[in-house]
Symmetry: C2
Subunit: 221 residues, 2 copies
DNA sequence: CCTCACTTGTTGTAACTGCAACATTGGGAG
DNA sequence: CTCCCAATGTTGCAGTTACAACAAGTGAGG
């Protein structure tokens, strides 16, 4: 656990909580890190949504499977970030999404009940924790709204460019590495993979885009 | 204000707070109801996101205008429900959405700073308020995820049916009244209005759907 | 070096969409 | 009742997409 304290301390969930206090807090909540290997299912759709997850190392991909077999990739979670927290906080009956490890690493699963229930030992930080969680949920909301904006594009071209521009804006440069392979990127944009390939090819031919594996460079911004 | 206390008391934000305490709480936060007329701009895009809104009567439509002029209708807010709360809680620089009254009514705007800052008089209920807000944000997240699922449909037909099935599921019957006119429904589904009309016509001809103005009946579920 | 599995790119085609322009409908004001 | 206007439906068309099937590229392991 010790090796991950630094990551946890930087997590938005524990902002403002001292490292030594953090350790006690985690003990109190019975948190144990769990190692994951690429491809492992961290949380499966259908489970009761009792726990929220924090990525300690590696990355976790959250996706949803529709009845017709279509997959929607909701996003990729990086170290320090949370996943499944909305479902846990909303006390959803069944988890509608699946979380899969995108690389070897580790996660921490926290019982949301224990997180929000008053705990005699750690009550001093409890308010802070809830307040942080509020902020995390709010930002997650903004991210989701951003995803809606991407999906509002009516052509693959529009959606891809909206996504890449968003990434570039956040990265502060015009070259970004997409954390998905082509199929996952297509599922993230909710389009067909081969059609996405065609759109990428066109954009490259037009000189709008430069592509090298997962590295995209926007030539004009 | 008194006329709206009942609505507020039933709002998820004030769950578990007694009616008489509620009144004091509102005073303490300096909340004043504001009457709105159909078409009024309640919150404008670009404003600092300092306040969250609660609909007291009527309805409020939240939409976002893209750079290319395309409008995205995010949703319709009904009495007791909140809007713009994510932006307020995330302390967003500028509001990315616009809130417009869809009918005559009234709203309450609450300063999110005052909501989360400790208040000597109402501190007893403060924790409750934050906890409720957490739940509201979590549920809003689920709603947004639902919208993403709707937008993941690759044809207008799929999106419309996903939306209507969702409404029917929530209503518990197979006849629902859509709170949008055709243009707003198209903007909600992020498709062209005339193409939406065409899709509705096809579904009706096939006997899948019965339509009367804004009233849709799913013949087969 | 080769094989094999997996990822990515390519292409033809039918179907669907966005767009624009126009027809129709329905309800409110006078 | 009639007029008027906004909402809704209709249609032709060019462009885009999903789908399927296949080709090319890539990397790990023997």
């Amino acid at each position: 656990m010790t090796e991950y304290l630094e990551i946890l301390h930087r997590s938005p969930l524990f902002r403002g909580i001292e490292a030594k206090e953090l350790s006690a807090l985690l003990d109190c909540m019975g948190a144990r890190p769990r190692r994951i290997k690429k491809g492992d299912t961290v949380l499966a759709a259908g489970e009761r949504a009792t726990h929220l997850g924090i990525v300690l190392a590696g990355r976790v991909q959250v996706s949803r499977l529709k009845a017709d077999g279509q997959r929607i990739v909701m996003g990729e979670i990086r170290p320090g970030q949370l996943f499944a927290e909305s479902f846990a906080c909303a006390q959803a009956e069944a988890l509608p999404v699946t979380a899969i490890a995108g690389a070897d690493g580790a996660v921490l699963l926290l019982d949301s009940g224990r997180l929000s229930a008053p705990c005699s030992a750690a009550c001093a930080f409890h308010g802070r924790l809830i307040s942080n969680l509020l902020s995390v949920l709010a930002h997650k909301n903004l991210a989701l709204a951003g995803k809606v904006e991407i999906l509002s594009g009516r052509t693959i071209r529009e959606r891809l460019l909206a996504y890449l521009e968003d990434l570039c804006l956040k990265a502060g440069k015009n070259t970004v590495t997409v954390p998905f392979d082509r199929q996952a990127l297509a599922d993230y944009l909710c389009v067909d993979r081969s059609a996405l390939s065609r759109a990428i090819g066109q954009l490259r031919e037009e000189g709008v885009l430069e592509v090298d594996r997962g590295k995209f460079t926007l030539k004009q911004l």
